[in-house]
């Protein structure tokens, strides 16, 4: 090898710590980009592919009961490819040995063998249950422990129980794919239904369309037509219509949006790591000044030197790629697996994603080149004299035309500060002064370090703020979940009857029966716009504390009026309080007035509130209800849970057909849980940026100490002990950390707004009110102090270990 290339090769390994620092800082960026880009591609593709492979129904109708003969009449409906009927209802189950009930969705399938829509994938055991057997969707196993061959106890609405044997475990990526918080599913055959006191009738339609299976408008029309046939042709009421595209998983937009946020953070990490690389390379070039001087002395020209150091940077990049690409690939797959598992779909298998590979290559090669370009240009242009004298005294001060140093902003600030102190006769102890002034000596380096650390800190703080914002929003949503127990029955009961019985349970404070209506909001052309669930508490109910963001809340005397979530604006962006909506309720089209908007989490259709007084009459259930809200004297979740069970038992014992009794907060908890996952991802990214920031600081402190060995020697020579030297370095690190914290304080504000906006749009599909918490600021303060102390300890120890002889052994 020619000597100059051999020098490049040897330089690579000359300083192991520095090499690791550079390689790691490139690798962190490459890795995070690789993981996210890889996961993005894998999920984007597999999520929908896995979904599509299971023949997802384009149309799902919730209907009144109907039979096989009626179903057969639908098979010839225009543009319907396949149509299947199923029966779906809520049921509680527990393993034989356990006393804890779990609410499940029971789905009765007519013909497992000739199943054509919403296909099941058999994972274990039988793919088809026999009579009195059940197949468990694998998510059931998250809720209760069961294995093939076990018996599960099911509780019927009259309180009696039946036992079904688990015949197999299956995966269903399609049913309920739009709501990963829906109860898990158990599958049985239709002839098992009588054992469960259910009629052998269907109440769901799952259909696929012949053409335009990815055309939203076409499917809507086909669905409307199908619903029409059922209602007009067979007198079967359609309660709810849900449509879906074949090749797009219903949650894909949300997941992609979240991945998009993570991607943005990943790109930020790349930027931060590039400033770290720039810093380290500048220091490397500085340490190599002498070598550059020698090479120029013996005939080396700018471009030769430039090429050598560019090659060195490329080598760093390649090493980082070797490290980061495999891990990035594994990480991407693991992340995809995790998300797939959470959302219930299957990946197509491990693979290298070319797109992510290319992006990683680009990041690993171009980012270091970009970051190293300026230092390398400067380094290769230096004159022999400057290079040979290894003169680092130039620092970064700029010079005016006459060659005199120009004061930088930092210096002016510092002089001003010095004079201020002097005028008041205050002398700072010199050792402290040294730390303070050292901080500002290498300004470019300081700026880059501050940039990395501040960005890391700002993101860290912002993530905490976003977390609080999300939870605050959830708390606000909790205004609509004041009730401690939700008691649902399989048939309507009189309010007075339920209230009397409920009040017998000690701890019950109040009981309300709510009306409930499932309606469809229609576009002016009569096609389905949104599914809407109307909850109708008595006017002036104590069980919700509404907080309308526009207009007013519903009040006593309102008829055909609703307060609706802002989610409706998706379909009707120009809707204002006072405007009207066309709805279809129990087959009748009506026109309702919107009196106000409120914020809510819209899942599985929108929510609106009306008054019990009106809607109970509308649904022919005056003074009766299927759904009751109970207020108890305590509101902690365990208490609510206990009360739910007590009420459940009390009502069943009294012969009521209880569908389920749920603690009031459980709905909220499920939602919070999913937010937690998101917050954890955000925190991981925040930690990564913090780590990059800390690495930057470590590097900077290391370089600072290295360049100041002579000064440290002088200090020792005039009586500084080990502790004094260490303190000097650590204080400097902490000053940098402190400054970055202050800057992070400011920068976190826009970051919080930006991140909240993106996240809330992705998750809630509506911007939410930003809330700040001191928590992130305090944690980051503690963290940055600890990090900067840690980042300085190794350089400080190295500095203290230097003996004067080594330090002053010039030449």
């Amino acid at each position: 090898m020619r000597p100059r290339w051999r020098k490049v090769f040897l330089d690579l390994f000359e300083n192991k710590t520095r090499m690791l620092l550079v390689v790691f800082s490139i690798a962190v960026g490459v890795f995070s980009i690789g993981v996210i880009a890889g996961a993005y591609v894998i999920i984007e593709n597999d999520m929908s592919a896995s979904y599509a492979a299971n023949q997802p129904a384009n149309i799902e109708l919730r209907t009144a009961d109907f039979d096989r003969d009626f179903l057969a009449t639908l098979e010839n409906a225009p543009d319907i490819a396949e149509v299947e009927g199923r029966r779906v209802f809520n049921i509680r189950a527990r393993p034989l040995q356990s006393q804890v009930w779990t609410t499940l969705n029971l789905v009765a399938v007519d013909d497992f063998e000739n199943n054509t829509v919403n296909l099941l994938t058999s994972l274990q055991g039988a793919s088809e249950p026999a009579k009195r057997e059940a197949l468990l969707e694998r998510k059931v196993l998250d809720e209760l422990s069961a294995a093939v061959g076990d018996d599960l106890v099911f509780q019927l609405s009259d309180g009696s129980t039946q036992v079904l044997r688990v015949a197999g475990i299956v995966q269903d990526p399609t049913t309920g794919a739009d709501d990963f918080l829906a109860p898990p599913i158990v599958y049985v055959t239709m002839d098992t239904l009588p054992y469960l006191s259910q009629p052998e009738a269907f109440n769901r339609i799952y259909a696929t369309v012949e053409t335009g299976e990815n055309d939203d408008a076409h499917i809507r029309l086909t669905a409307a037509d199908l619903a029409d046939r059922m209602e007009r042709g067979g007198g079967v009421d359609v309660y709810r219509t849900r449509i879906a595209l074949k090749n797009e998983h219903p949650l894909a937009p949300t997941v992609n949006a979240v991945l998009g946020i993570l991607m943005a953070l990943g790109i930020l990490i790349v930027f931060l790591s590039s400033s770290l690389i720039a810093n380290t390379l500048a220091a490397l070039l500085n340490q190599h000044l002498r070598h550059i001087g020698v090479m120029k002395l013996v005939g080396g020209r700018d471009n030769q030197i430039f090429a050598m150091y560019l090659a060195l940077i490329l080598a760093f990049g390649v090493l980082a790629l070797l490290l980061a690409v495999p891990f990035g690939g594994i990480g991407a797959y693991q992340l995809s697996l995790y998300i797939a598992d959470q959302l219930g779909f299957t990946l197509l298998g491990y693979r290298i994603v070319p797109f992510s590979f290319v992006i990683q290559m680009a990041v690993g090669i171009f980012v270091p080149l970009f970051a190293g370009f300026v230092p390398v240009i400067n380094g290769s242009r230096i004159t022999v004299l400057d290079a040979l004298s290894g003169d680092l005294a130039h620092e970064t001060a700029t010079r005016d035309a006459a060659g005199r140093r120009r004061e930088s902003v930092f210096e002016r600030l510092e002089n001003w500060f010095d004079e201020l102190l002097l005028r008041r006769g205050i002398h700072l102890p010199r050792p402290l002064l040294i730390s303070l002034r050292n901080t500002f000596r290498r300004q470019n380096r300081l700026l880059l370090t501050l940039f990395t650390l501040t960005m890391g800190g700002a993101i860290f703080i912002a993530v905490f703020n976003v977390r609080t914002t999300l939870f605050d929003y959830m708390d606000n949503v909790g205004r609509y979940f004041v009730a401690d127990v939700t008691l649902d029955f399989d048939k309507p009961y009189r309010l007075s009857e339920v209230e009397r019985l409920a009040r017998q349970e000690p701890g019950v404070v109040d009981v309300e029966g709510w009306a409930f209506a499932a309606v469809e909001v229609l576009y002016p052309d009569g096609t389905l716009a949104e599914n809407l669930t109307v909850l109708a508490p008595p006017a002036g109910s104590e069980m919700i504390s509404p907080d309308p963001v526009a207009g007013r809340w519903v009040q006593a005397g309102d008829t055909r009026s609703i307060a609706i979530t802002e989610g409706i604006l998706r379909s009707f962006p120009n809707l204002k309080p006072g405007d009207y909506l066309d709805v279809k309720i129990a087959g009748n089209e009506e026109r309702w007035q919107v009196v106000g908007f409120f914020k809510f989490i819209d899942r599985e259709g929108l929510i609106a509130y009306g008054t019990y007084e009106y809607f109970s009459r509308e649904t022919n259930l005056a003074n009766r209800s299927v759904s009751f809200r109970v207020l108890t004297d305590q509101h902690a979740e365990p208490y609510q849970r206990a009360m739910s069970e007590k009420l459940d038992k009390r009502f069943r014992d009294a012969g009521f057909q209880v569908s389920q009794a749920r603690p009031g907060l459980s709905a909220l908890d499920n939602a919070t849980e999913s937010l937690d996952i998101l917050v954890i991802f955000l925190l991981i990214m925040a930690m990564l940026t913090a780590v990059v920031g800390a690495m930057g600081l470590t590097g900077t402190m290391g370089m600072n100490v290295l360049e100041r060995t002579r000064e440290i020697g002088i200090m020792r020579a005039i009586g500084a002990v080990d502790a004094e030297i260490m303190r000097m370095v650590i204080v400097e690190g902490m000053v940098i950390g402190g400054i970055s914290w202050l800057l992070g304080l400011l920068l976190s504000v826009p970051f919080t707004y930006l991140l909240s906006y993106i996240v809330s749009l992705a998750v809630f599909e509506t911007p939410i009110t930003v809330v700040f918490t001191p928590l992130g600021y305090l944690i980051w303060l503690a963290l940055v102090i600890v990090l900067s102390a840690l980042a300085s300890i190794i350089p400080a120890r190295n500095a203290a270990r230097l003996t004067i002889r080594e330090v002053l052994a010039y030449e």
């Binding site: 002064l433 040294i434 002579r710 002990v721 003996t803 010039y810």
Partner: protein
């Protein structure tokens, strides 16, 4: 901050030991990839309080290492270093030596003196901060005084890079004096200064020595060594006898070292005869301490003292060069004993052969002594009557 004493506490409570610096058989070996080098080969050195000493040596002679021994910067492979009563290497660790140095020693280097981020005033205050000496509020006052002493008061708030190198050096000296240490060590303090700045610094050192500070200065500039009380030459890790350097200044250091190794010490009581006239001379004598008298005696005439020779002067060269017998008698002066270094004839002649400049100088000295002797001979005819000395000489022979 506890109030600090105005003066340093004495290191030993009893009377301070007479020597400021006491090196005993100091050996320093360095190991590197190319092998092991002995840089200091058993140095014995004693420097008293209030002395202004220069140390001279070529690069690679070990003078920096020697200095590092005295300042506690490096540690010897064997031997003992006692500075201001403190054994530096048996009872102190690196950090302890730093603290000790802060209170006992002011160091002035050739380069990289001042901390660039501190003003001159702050630089001078720093050692007080480290040593915890003087009240916190007293420190700026004292630093200002010291800067005033070196004439830099009006530059006190400037950063080092804003003043000239000479001024930086002066500020460094002020800093070295910050904790009022009894010992000042300067490594080539004038190395990169113009001659006028160098002058100022030497004057400062001289006056500091006069005030009782011990000043040790490494230099390779002969014009500076002349202005110190004592010049110590080190060559290839060994000290050259002071007297040899004084007597034969034109030898190279290596030759001086050669001579130092070949000489034998001789001690004579006050008044004791060293050489008799007409005796065989086979040794070249250099006076290390005390005085000798050169005495001429005519036949039947009283003795006449023609010259007194002191430290660094020599005799015996005339006879060794011209051959023959002693042309005069030499005896120890009556007031003090004399220590001589004797160089055997062969070694002396070999040395002259190696150094034509020295040969030339000695030849000139022989010339002038012979002339002087002849003149003295004539004068001695006049007052040649005293017989007492003659008797004494006879007695001693």
């Amino acid at each position: 901050m506890t109030p600090a004493p105005q003066n340093l506490p004495p290191v030993s409570p009893a009377a301070p030991p007479p020597a400021m610096i006491d090196l005993r058989r100091v050996v320093k070996k360095f190991k590197n990839a190319a092998g092991e080098f002995t840089v200091l080969k058993g140095i014995e050195l004693h420097i008293g309080r209030g002395e202004f000493v220069s140390i001279v040596g070529k690069s690679g002679s070990g003078k920096s290492t020697l200095l590092n021994m005295i300042t506690g910067i490096d540690h010897p492979t064997s031997g003992q270093v006692i500075v201001n009563g403190q054994d530096l290497y048996t009872s102190l660790n690196e950090s302890g030596r730093s603290l000790w140095r802060g209170r006992n020693l002011g160091i002035v280097f050739q380069f990289f003196q001042l901390l660039p981020m501190l003003s001159l005033l702050e630089n001078v205050m720093l050692p007080m901060d480290y040593a915890g000496l003087y009240d916190f509020d007293e420190r700026p006052r004292r630093a200002r005084q010291l800067l005033g002493m070196v004439g830099l008061e009006q530059h006190a708030h400037k950063l080092p890079m804003s003043v000239s190198t000479g001024q930086q050096q002066l500020a460094a000296i002020a800093r070295a004096l910050a904790t009022d240490p009894p010992l000042l060590v300067a490594d080539e303090p004038t190395g990169n200064l113009d001659s006028r700045s160098a002058d100022t610094i030497i004057e400062l050192f001289t006056s500091l020595a006069a005030q009782g500070k011990t000043v040790i200065m490494v230099t390779h500039d002969p014009s500076l060594t002349e202005r110190t009380n004592r010049n110590i030459i080190i060559s290839d890790g060994e000290l050259i006898a002071d007297a040899v350097a004084l007597a034969l200044p034109l030898l190279s250091h290596r030759q001086m070292l050669q001579v130092t190794r070949q000489t034998q010490p001789h001690t004579f009581a006050p008044g004791q005869a060293i050489l008799l006239r007409d005796a065989e001379v086979d040794t070249f004598f250099i006076i290390e301490e005390g005085e000798v008298e050169i005495v001429l005696q005519g036949k039947n005439r009283a003795d006449a003292t023609v010259a007194r020779l002191g430290r660094g002067q020599y005799f015996g060269e005339v006879e060794l060069l011209r051959g023959g017998k002693s042309i005069a008698s030499v005896r120890a002066s009556s007031t003090s004993p004399v220590r001589l270094l004797g160089l055997p004839r062969a070694a002396f002649l070999a040395t002259l052969k190696e150094s034509p400049l020295t040969e030339e100088a000695i030849a000139r000295s022989v010339q002038s002594r012979l002339q002087e002797n002849r003149a003295q001979d004539r004068r001695s005819v006049v007052d040649a009557l005293s017989g007492t000395i003659k008797k004494a000489l006879r007695r001693s022979s």
